[in-house]
């Protein structure tokens, strides 16, 4: 799925659009301003791969600040490349199919990973994008090796990789999947988006539902027993009936986890420019239908948009929702360690340049005070089925607001906890607006 979630960054913020270079232009090409060819080693742009770099990243917060980490953290690795950008996508990703660009990116990514050497334990590793499975497994392997040598990764860690079905089809796909399990990946998250071939064609996803079945089958055969499917609800051209079918069809594939997101038209995307209509009421109906169907089939609706079979919640994402500690690696990746919340440069050129010059790619950092941490804990915690302790919610919301929500059966309070009902999740922002 790769291309549909994570970091909402528009191509404008990334500083370049599909087809453009994610790296500084090669000075040897196109002085006339015609489209530059992305080729050649990094050294051509002034980067000396083998130059000794002492005091690497002196400005990076990691070098000067001790992070109190009580337990292991979640590692997120961002791979910002796709075969093409989907028309609805606003994530930090670029349509790049040039292996040398990927390689250069992986080189700097590994530099970033290595600067954290020996500091942290990791409980989960999540490769997201973009489309991580677009990269050759050998490149992915270089990254996982760097991770293993730089972090103390729990042997029982959850290792997730996001994949675009079209990159995992056929014999080559089967082989890839096998090699990914050998690298330690034990959870596959597939960006299926829709099970309807007409929708998939409209989105130029380059696969049909049969392909998805094959990929899921191959993944299972190659050892992936934990498989998530991403679906999008609220395609304006799909009927309610078609949506219900999507859910059942997705279930037939027997995944362990389902993420179902309402289509959102983000500024800067082709869908935004085309004025693709979204009807919030229609989406609300589909959302509730999703909840009912999946609950009837024994699924646990454990987070706003996530469903799991028993024991298969996404451990990595739970770290976010518990507002635990996580470290984001790669362009635009965000981290939260203790009181510190920071994120990397969003522009891939800046990100790369920083690391090549031995500087921190961290673009902004804030220190959260206790109150802000509590606020975020409550707001993130309410995303989960279990909700939050009533008293912590009461420190954030006034009683009359909570009663209003309870009266509408948007919130329920039981045994000292406050939690949203599914229809309450749908309007949860309306509660957060009242946070003091």
């Amino acid at each position: 799925m790769l291309d549909t979630r994570k970091k909402e960054i528009s191509p404008l913020q990334c500083g370049f659009s599909a087809g453009e270079s994610p790296l500084p232009p090669d000075p040897r090409t196109s002085p006339d301003g015609s489209p530059r060819v992305l080729a050649g080693p990094l050294s051509a742009t002034g980067f000396k791969g083998d130059s000794p770099v002492l005091n690497l990243y002196p400005l990076y917060p990691a070098s000067s600040i001790q992070y109190p980490v009580s337990s292991a953290l979640g590692l997120y690795v961002h791979i910002p490349f796709c075969r093409r950008r989907c028309d609805y996508c606003a994530f930090a990703t670029h349509a790049v199919s040039d292996a040398s660009v990927w390689e250069r990116y992986v080189d700097v990514l590994i530099r970033e990973i290595e600067m954290w050497r020996g500091r942290f334990k990791a409980a989960t590793v999540f490769f997201g994008g973009g489309t991580p499975t677009l990269l050759p497994v050998s490149l992915i392997g270089r990254v996982t090796a760097a991770i293993r040598s730089s972090f103390d990764v729990d042997p029982a860690a959850e290792w997730t990789i996001e994949g675009h079905p079209a990159t995992l089809m056929g014999e080559r796909g089967r082989e890839c999947l096998g090699r990914l399990t050998q690298l330690g990946f034990n959870r596959l998250s597939l960006g299926v988006e829709s099970v309807h071939n007409a929708t998939l064609a409209k989105l130029s996803r380059d696969y049909d539902f049969d392909d998805v079945c094959d990929v899921v089958g191959a993944a299972r055969e190659q050892g992936f027993s934990n498989i998530n499917l991403d679906l999008i609800l609220g395609w304006p051209w799909e009927s309610d009936k078609q949506h219900r079918e999507s859910i059942s069809k997705a279930c037939e594939l027997a995944p362990t986890h389902l993420s179902v997101y309402p289509l959102k038209i983000e500024e800067g995307t082709p869908f935004f420019r085309q004025n693709v209509p979204v009807n919030p009421d229609f989406q609300a109906d589909e959302y509730m239908a999703t909840h009912e169907i999946l609950q009837g089939l024994g699924w646990e609706h454990y987070e706003v948009a996530n469903f799991a079979r028993t024991g298969f919640r996404s451990r990595h994402n739970l770290i976010y929702w518990h507002f635990g500690d996580y470290l984001g690696l790669g362009v635009s990746a965000a981290s939260k360690i203790g009181q510190r919340s920071f994120s990397n440069a969003r522009d891939i050129r800046n990100y790369t340049a920083c690391l090549r010059e031995g500087r921190s790619p961290c673009a902004d950092e804030e220190v959260l005070d206790a109150r802000e941490i509590d606020r975020r804990k409550v707001i993130m915690g309410l995303r989960l089925k279990e909700g939050v302790r009533s008293n912590s919610a009461r420190s954030l919301f006034q009683e009359d607001i909570l009663s209003d929500f309870k009266n509408l059966d948007y919130l329920r309070e039981e045994t000292g906890s406050l939690r949203f009902t599914p229809s309450g999740w749908l309007v949860s922002n309306q509660l957060y607006l009242h946070a003091v």
Binding site: R5, K6, K7, E8, G74, Y76, Y261, P262, K264, P280, D281, Q283, A284, Y287, V304, A305, N317, I319, Y320, W321, F323, Y326, G328, S332, A333, A334, S335, K336, S341, S343, E366, R375, R376, I379, M380, R383, D404, L408, S423, W425, L426, V427, S428, N429, Q430, Y432, L433, A435
Partner: protein
């Protein structure tokens, strides 16, 4: 000063025909300002410059070939017709300016008639002759055919200065010199403008008609019942900066500083008398003062940010010193909190005050539905004036209602006659006269209720006539209206006083419906279904509803998103803060601004 060498004149024109630009060129050509630091010198208020509209009349003294030319600038917009009259009292002639690309417009005709009735010399001038779409010959012909002006017009381009010297010569030769009057007469002058100077207080702009006015003179205002005496501290010319002089003699135009601090103490059109001379002051005013101008369009004005009412009050008070023609009183609204009921001389006047509040005082305001001044007879036998729907008596208590009318004069090409008449009819107009000025150009005179004129009339007129029809109006007294009713708007069962309006019964349903429809678009969906109702005379006459919000969620929220999503929430929260609360319903300020359009 030898009065035979003085020429007092004004430029009159329809809005945007280039009056201020011509004034600048006259100043430049006569060397009154060496280089124009700012274009349109007479429009000294920044706002006037931007809108290209002259609001406040000012006088400027220029020299040309041994003569003194006093240009009394006049406002060019229909809301300020009274200021045109006042400035003309002080003149012997006018330059009647017509834009060659626009031709003769409603205010051209109206202004020309005023000048003719006042017996002033009229110099016809065709401006913008260098424009590509200028229709010079046609305009020249029309000036004779429509306005009856025999003299061949001066052809000028105020922009380039072409023809301006000739025009100045024409002013000297065609505008009569002011009458000198008996030299021994007691000083008498007409106050036709004033402005505030932060250091000197109120500066009066005067035309001396008899005797002399000098520093140290004791003066009083003719209509001041207390006959309070003031000391003339300083007199002089506006050239255009103030230039002190020993005295102003009969026929001269200039300024007077006399220790006035509050502009409300003196009215424009007032006669000023010198009372310490040998001769007895005159027993009659130079001009009848008439009834004081009363605002006739009233709106509720509320601070955009709740709790800023005291700074808005301070701003209104300061503004009032520079423009005493609007009035304001405290009022309170359930939905909008404390604010003011503010009366204006027209909608443009309202726009100008609103803009000045923003620019000069950083005050963003919410304006409610314009209301006119109704006269309502109540059972107790008295007649009350109602300037706010909030004070409209209950239906059973009303014995009769009179509403103010305006006499509108519209100049329209014959091609748009039908559409214009339709519009006037739908606005409850009464036909007075249709005059064919030329086969292509028709002047309609209708009387329409002022309430129909103050909401969206001008824009509609322009829209239906492709911009060609032009408008002039004057107040035309009150007419009995059988069944005016008040419509209240209820939002979720709570009356929203700021949205109430007064309307003829036969239009109540239609206007309520369209207001509710617009409201439905403007009020965001809430956590619960919101009923919108219009009620009149105890009955619900129209209904709408706003469905409850069903989806407002950050569906995807992962690590990287958290900080950004929190920021999005903050932004959404900021938006909510702007909202006004009526009961439990959040209403954006825009809802009060934009529901006012007519359908």
């Amino acid at each position: 000063m030898d009065s035979s060498k003085i020429r007092n004149f004004s430029i009159i024109a329809h809005i945007d025909h280039g009056k201020s630009t011509l004034a600048d060129r006259l100043l430049e050509t006569t060397g009154s300002v060496r280089t124009l630091e700012r274009a349109q010198f007479l429009d000294s208020m920044e706002l006037e410059q931007e809108r290209g509209i002259t609001i406040k009349a000012k006088a400027v003294r220029m020299s040309w070939k041994g003569h003194i030319l006093n240009l009394l600038d006049t406002p060019g917009h229909v809301d300020f017709t009274f200021e045109v009259h006042r400035a003309l009292w002080a003149c012997e002639g006018v330059v009647l300016l017509v834009d060659a690309s626009q031709g003769i417009q409603a205010q051209t005709v109206a202004n020309c008639e005023i000048a003719q009735k006042s017996g002033l010399a009229i110099l016809p001038v065709v401006n913008k002759i260098d424009l590509q779409n200028a229709r010079v010959e046609e305009t020249v012909d029309d000036m004779e055919r429509i306005l009856g002006l025999r003299d061949f017009p001066f052809l000028v381009s105020a922009k380039t200065g072409g023809g301006v010297s000739e025009l100045l010569d024409g002013i000297v030769s065609k505008v009569p010199a002011p009458a000198a009057g008996p030299s021994a007469a007691a000083g008498a002058a007409l106050i036709f403008d004033s402005y505030m100077d932060p250091f000197r207080g109120v500066i009066l702009v005067v035309r001396v008609f008899e005797g002399r006015l000098a520093a140290k003179h004791k003066i009083r205002f003719f209509h001041d019942p207390a006959a309070k005496e003031y000391l003339a501290e300083e007199v002089g010319y506006l050239a255009p900066a103030r230039q002190a002089a020993a005295e102003l003699a009969a026929g001269e135009v200039g300024y007077l500083v006399c220790g006035l601090k509050d502009p409300k103490e003196v009215r424009h059109g007032e006669t000023l008398l010198v009372v310490d001379g040998a001769a007895a002051p005159r027993a009659a005013p130079l001009k009848p003062l008439g009834a004081p101008l009363k605002p006739f369009v009233y709106v509720g004005m509320y601070p955009m940010q709740l709790g800023e009412v005291s700074s808005l009050q301070a701003a209104l008070e300061r503004l009032h010193l520079t423009d005493p023609s609007f009035e304001f009183n405290i009022e309170a609204s359930l939905a909008l909190g404390p604010g003011f009921r503010v009366g204006f001389l027209g909608l443009l006047h309202l726009e100008i005050i609103k803009e000045r509040l923003k620019r000069e005082f950083s005050q963003d305001v919410i304006i409610t539905n314009p209301n006119v001044r109704y006269r309502v007879g109540v059972k107790k036998g008295e007649t009350i004036e109602v300037i706010s729907p909030a004070h409209f008596p209950a239906h059973g208590d009303i014995t009769k209602v009179e509403e103010p009318y305006a006499r509108v004069k519209i100049l329209t090409p014959a091609a748009h006659l039908g559409a214009v008449q339709e519009m006037l009819k739908s606005r409850r107009g009464i036909h007075i006269e249709t005059a064919h000025l030329t086969p292509q150009s028709i002047r309609l005179t209708w009387e329409i209720p002022l309430s129909e004129l103050v909401v969206d009339f001008y824009d509609k007129l322009k829209a239906i006539s492709q911009g060609y029809a032009s408008l002039d109006y004057e107040l035309a007294g009150y007419r009995f209206k059988e069944d005016l009713v008040k419509v209240d708007i209820l939002i979720h069962g709570e009356p929203c006083d700021a949205l109430s309006f007064i309307v003829p019964k036969e239009k109540a349903f239609h206007e309520s419906r369209s207001l509710l429809e617009r409201l439905r678009e403007l009020v965001p969906r809430q956590m619960f279904e919101v009923a919108l109702q219009a009620s009149s005379q105890g009955k619900i006459i129209a209904k709408e509803k706003i469905h409850s919000i069903r989806k407002d969620v950050l569906a995807k929220c992962y690590g990287g998103d958290i900080t950004r999503k929190m920021k999005l929430l903050e932004k959404q929260k900021e938006g909510k803060k702007r909202m006004r609360k009526l009961g439990r319903v959040d209403i954006p300020p825009e809802a009060f601004l934009t529901v006012l359009r007519k359908t």
